[in-house]
Symmetry: C2
Subunit: 210 residues, 2 copies
């Protein structure tokens, strides 16, 4: 999770989700993309998937004034070192479990984001957005295992992914070592499909025991 440390009141010194205000001629997504570019220093955020989560509009969520926030989630496979700046004194990447006690209602927003992304992994091809342009099936599986917090059976995962048309496309002849050791893994690219039919269900080991 990309967090910024607040430099001003309210919540000075607390960590928060990065964000900012819309410019007069911006849509919320354009503004989110701009803020992300500023915070990460990434040059090409144009083809990055931005998932609109939901809008938070409770009148008292910011003690200074009424602020309506449209929350987005972006998924970066290789996060660069973040830049501080603006009203944030510094920025850093933090594991999900360590991102607690945030400013404003950002704990809730982050929890909503986690649940939404976890659910979308089941029935969309979103997982490839966490991977670099070319990735191994082991890396793709780790995305699921990390977000869901469960272990998946490798052979079955592999079959299910390859059986879904348009989910991934093989990069012919390419292979790469992943963990340093072991057999080099074949490389894949994200395919044209966006939804998974049938879905990739969670908790395969949580069925009724034999």
């Amino acid at each position: 999770m990309l967090l910024v440390e607040r430099g001003q009141e309210p919540y000075a010194g607390r960590w928060a989700l990065p964000g900012g205000f819309l410019l007069p001629e911006e849509s919320a997504e354009t503004a989110a993309r701009r803020e992300l570019a500023e915070e990460t220093g990434l040059a090409d955020v144009t083809d990055l998937h931005l998932e609109q989560l939901r809008t938070y509009s409770e009148p008292d969520r910011d003690p200074r004034m009424r602020v309506v926030s449209v929350a987005f989630a972006a998924l970066l496979p290789d996060p660069p070192a973040p830049h501080g700046g603006g009203d944030a004194s510094q920025a850093r990447w933090v594991p999900y479990d360590a991102a607690v006690d945030l400013a404003f209602d950002h704990d809730r927003i982050l929890a909503d984001a986690r649940r939404r992304v976890g659910a979308k992994l089941e029935y969309t091809c979103l997982a490839t957005a966490f991977c670099p342009a070319e990735f191994t099936l082991g890396e793709l599986q780790q995305v699921y295992e990390t977000v869901w917090g469960t272990a998946l059976d490798r052979p079955n995962f592999r079959r299910k992914v390859l059986a879904t048309p348009g989910f991934v496309e093989a990069v012919p002849g390419a292979a790469r070592l992943t963990g340093g050791r072991g057999k080099p893994a074949a490389l894949y690219r994200a395919g044209p499909a966006t939804t998974l039919h049938p879905p990739l269900l969670r908790a395969p080991r949580e069925g009724r025991p034999a």
Copy 2:
């Protein structure tokens, strides 16, 4: 679909989704609930499910000025006759397929709503929100068939619903005739569950043919 006919420019005389502006101390959901109550004349919209769809913030979506809209979907089993009023000259219920050529970007919003509701039927218990407090399984099945536009096998649908714990609860001893003829159907209430595991998949007759 509840539509209102616009009485003012822009788009005077065109049909549009009902809506309005936030009051100073309202959240978007509170405002949506208030607008819905005004438009339908319903007294108790407090325990009605309001699903936040997404926020539309393109700068030019309203020619008069910049308007950011937070779209919600409400599901009414027995819609009452709507009230006109406000800047709408009249209001009416319209079948989904007839709700075309709406004002602003409301065609897109309506299409987003349809897709979202259809998807949520698969993995949540949302369908009961379309039914009255006590309903038959045939009525519940019609919700799925209407939104998805597909036919479902009645015995299998019945088993799947009853096999999902907390989806529906039998009303003991109660029965009601549905189509005028036929055997009276047992009545059910919505259960405490909110998500379906495993999901109720669409398109059972669209698998690879034998």
